[in-house]
């Protein structure tokens, strides 16, 4: 089941294309738009 409005977003750290890891909790204080975007722009 997808998370819903009001849930706490689970923290994660993932590698990014900007050569550094991004940790969600380090963005506290900012609004974050997190998009899962499979199969776009790829040759797959």
């Amino acid at each position: 089941m997808p998370l819903t409005v009001g849930d706490k977003a689970p923290d994660f750290t993932l590698p990014s294309h900007l050569d550094k890891d991004i940790t969600l909790s380090s963005l506290r204080g900012k609004t974050v738009v997190l998009v899962f975007f499979p199969q776009a722009w790829t040759p797959i």
Binding site: P2, A9, D11, F12, T31
Partner: protein, 174 residues
């Protein structure tokens, strides 16, 4: 991943790889499908780390940016300001009347050309593959994507082949 992002032409936000362990973050958010890939999903997370908006949609049915900007504005008026910024045309690109940013190969550009012809509407074409600065201009309007066709109709920007908006703007004028 970096090479791939560059091949898309420079993207201003970080692209993350949810690859190892495979799809773990998607799983935590509940959007990993049993087929092994994720839903198309958008989460807006507020400054306290609480989810404030969830959208899960079909691959062909993404919500409009207007909806997302409205959601962002609810959380922080600052976040929605980008939308209101004036986006003037870069020097060197045509402006005035109907300008269509397109490519020689995109199917919707072909449809748009036919539609303009059918209605006798004159237009200027800018091929974003061959015109310097044109692809960057489209990205500014289309939130980072090279969306074609994109139209500049006397300053009104229409991203993508939105026939209804074209009709509103161009057919009702007559």
């Amino acid at each position: 991943m970096k090479a791939w992002a560059e091949s898309l032409g420079g993207i201003s936000y970080p692209i993350l790889s949810d690859f190892w362990p495979h799809g773990r973050v998607a799983q935590q958010f509940g959007v990993l499908r049993s087929e092994g890939y994720t839903e198309r999903a958008i989460f807006i997370i507020d400054p306290d780390g609480i989810i404030r908006y969830v959208d899960i949609h079909d691959i062909d049915n993404q919500p409009s940016n207007d909806v997302l900007f409205a959601e962002l504005a609810k959380i922080s008026p600052e976040a929605a300001k980008v939308q209101q910024q004036q986006r003037p045309v870069s020097p060197g690109l045509p402006h005035g009347g109907v300008v269509m940013y397109c490519t020689s190969w995109c199917p919707d550009c072909r449809k748009a050309r036919a539609w303009f012809k059918e209605h006798g509407i004159p237009f200027t074409e800018v091929d974003i593959d061959t015109t310097p600065g044109a692809a960057d201009q489209v990205r500014k309007w289309a939130n980072g994507s090279r969306t074609t066709p994109t139209f500049d109709i006397d300053g009104e920007i229409i991203v993508d082949y939105q026939i209804k908006r074209l009709e509103e703007l161009l057919l009702n004028k007559k």
